[in-house]
C-alpha cells in the first residue's frame, strides 16, 4: 500500500472504475511525439536560490506541540516501530 490509505473492497471496485476513465484520458498523451523535447518543471528558467548558513529559528516546541495528537516528554508518540 504505497499510499498508506486503507480502502474497502467496495471502494476499491468503484475507484478502479473511475480511475480507468482517468487513465484512458492520460493515455492520450502517448499520441504525441516528444523525443527531442526537454521536460519543463518551472516556467521561468531560474536556478536555486541559496540562503546563508545561519541559525534563524528558535525553540518553539511548546507552540508546535500544542497541535500534536500525542506527545510525551517532548517526543511525538506513535505505535511501536519494529525494525
Amino acid at each position: 500500500m504505497l499510499a498508506r490509505i486503507e480502502i474497502t473492497e467496495a471502494e476499491s471496485q468503484q475507484t478502479l472504475e473511475q480511475l480507468s476513465g482517468v487513465f484512458g484520458l492520460i493515455e492520450k498523451m502517448q499520441a504525441i511525439d516528444t523525443t527531442d523535447v526537454a521536460p519543463m518543471a518551472h516556467a521561468q528558467d531560474v536556478v536555486a536560490r541559496l540562503r546563508p548558513d545561519a541559525v534563524t529559528e528558535s525553540d518553539q516546541k511548546e507552540l508546535f506541540q500544542s497541535v500534536a495528537p500525542a506527545v510525551e516528554d517532548g517526543l511525538y508518540l506513535v505505535p511501536r516501530v519494529i525494525e
Binding site: 504505497l2 490509505i5 482517468v22 492520460i26 498523451m29 531560474v46 495528537p69
Partner: protein, 486 residues
Amino acid sequence: MIDSSLRALSDKLAAREISSVELTRAYLARIDAHNAAVNAYITVDPEASLAQAEAADKRIAKGEAQPLTGIPIAHKDIWCARDWRTTCGSRMLENFRAPYDAHVIQRFNDSGAVNLGKTNMDEFAMGSSNETSWFGPVRNPWDQQRVPGGSSGGSAAAVAAAMAPAATGTDTGGSIRQPASLCGISGLKPTYGLVSRYGMIAFASSLDQGGPLARSAEDLALLLDVMVGFDPRDSTSLERPEEDYSRMLDAPLSGLRIGLPREYFSEGISDEVRAAVETAIGEYRKLGATTVEVGLPASELSVPAYYVIAPAEASSNLSRYDGVRYGFRAEEYTDLLDMYCKTRAQGFGAEVKRRILIGTYVLSHGYYDAYYLKAQKIRRLIARDFAQAFEQCDVIMSPTSPSTAFGIGDRTTDPVQMYLSDIFTIAANLAGLPGMSIPCGIDSAGLPIGLQLIGNYFSEARMLNAAHLFQTNTDWHTRKSPVAAS
C-alpha cells in the same frame, strides 16, 4: 456600502464617513444572515475580525493608512493564519490551528486589512465545484441548487453574495478563474512565482498560485499590490521590481491584439456561452482592439498532462498527513501501518484519495517515463504554443468555462466529466502564465458567463487594463446575484 469599490471604501474610511468596525460589522451581519444557505465560510471569528478593525481605525486616524487598511477580506481556508483554524476543507485538518502566518496573510495584516473569515473550498483544493469539502458544498448565490465552481468556491460565492468585498483564492488548474466565472465576479491567477506559496497548503507545487477575487479589475489590482512580493522562504518566489498594478488601468485600448485560439472555440461549449463571449470580443473590437486567430495545438493534451502532474505532486505533498505531528488521527488502530492507513482513509475524502492513488501510480517504478516525464514534456510544448501565439497577439481570450454553473451532484459520479470543466483554464497553469476571468454575460437561466484573458508572463497590469476598460464600457460585473440583492 456593499456596492462600493475597494478604492471608494478606502476613501470613505479615510474621510471617516464609516469606520472599519462598522464596515466589518456590516459584512459579519450579512455572513450571519446568509451563510447557512450559501455555506461560503468555514470559520468566522467576529471577535478577531473586530479587533483587527479597531486597530485599523486607529491607524487610519493617525493618517498611516494604506489602500486596504480597514477593509475586510475573506481568505480561502488554505492559507495558514495564526489564531485561526485552517482546515483546507478537510477532516484531516478540521481542528488544525497553524502556529504561523502564511506570507500572504502577513502581508494583508501588515497592510491593515481585516481578516473577515476563512472560506470554504474543495478539499485540499482538489475539485471544480466545491462539492468535495468536508464542511459541505458551497451553493452558488445565483442559484442555490447549483455549484459555485471550485476549488475556491467559498471565496467566489462570498464575493458574489456580498458576504465579502473581496477574497483570496488559489488556482492550480483554474480554481480562481472558473468559480469567478460561475459566480459572475472577477478573479486573477498571477504569473507563477509572483505570490509566495509559503503558508499556502500545497496541492501541486509547480502549478499552485494564490490570487485575488473581487467585483472588478480595479479591485483586483489593489489586492494584487498586497499579495505580490518576494518571499525568501519560498524557493520558487521570484525577485522582481515592485509594481503598481493599477498604473495602466485607464490606458487606451487601441492597438491591443487579441488572440483567439481555435481550439478553445470548438465543440463542447454551450451556445449561450459562445454567444456571450463572442459579443464580448465584439465589444473589444469597438474599443479599438484587433483580433487574430491563433493555434494552440497541444491544448487537447493539457487535461491529461495536468491529471498526471498535479496528482503526482499532490500525492507526495499529502504524505505528511499521517496523524503524527498534527491533524486528524484515527481513534482505533492496531499498529503503525494501520494507524497510517486508517488515519488517511478516514481523514481524506474520496476525490483526494482518488488523486493520491493516481499520483502514486504515475510515479511508480516503471511508469515514471511514460507518465510524469511525458507530461512534463507536453508541458513544454504547451508553453511553446503560447510563446508562439504571443508573437502574434498581446492577450489571448476565450470562454473561462465551457458551461455555466451545473447542478450540485450532476458531475460527482464521473471524475472525467468533472475534470473536463477545466479544459480552458488548465493550460495557463501548466505554462505558468497569468490568467483572469471577468463576467461577460448572463444566460437564460440567469447564470453568469465568464470571459477568460490569458496574458504573457508578468503582463498582469496590461491584462487588468484590458479588463478594466471592458468593465468601464459594460455592466456585467455590476450585476447582482439574488443573495447579494437581498
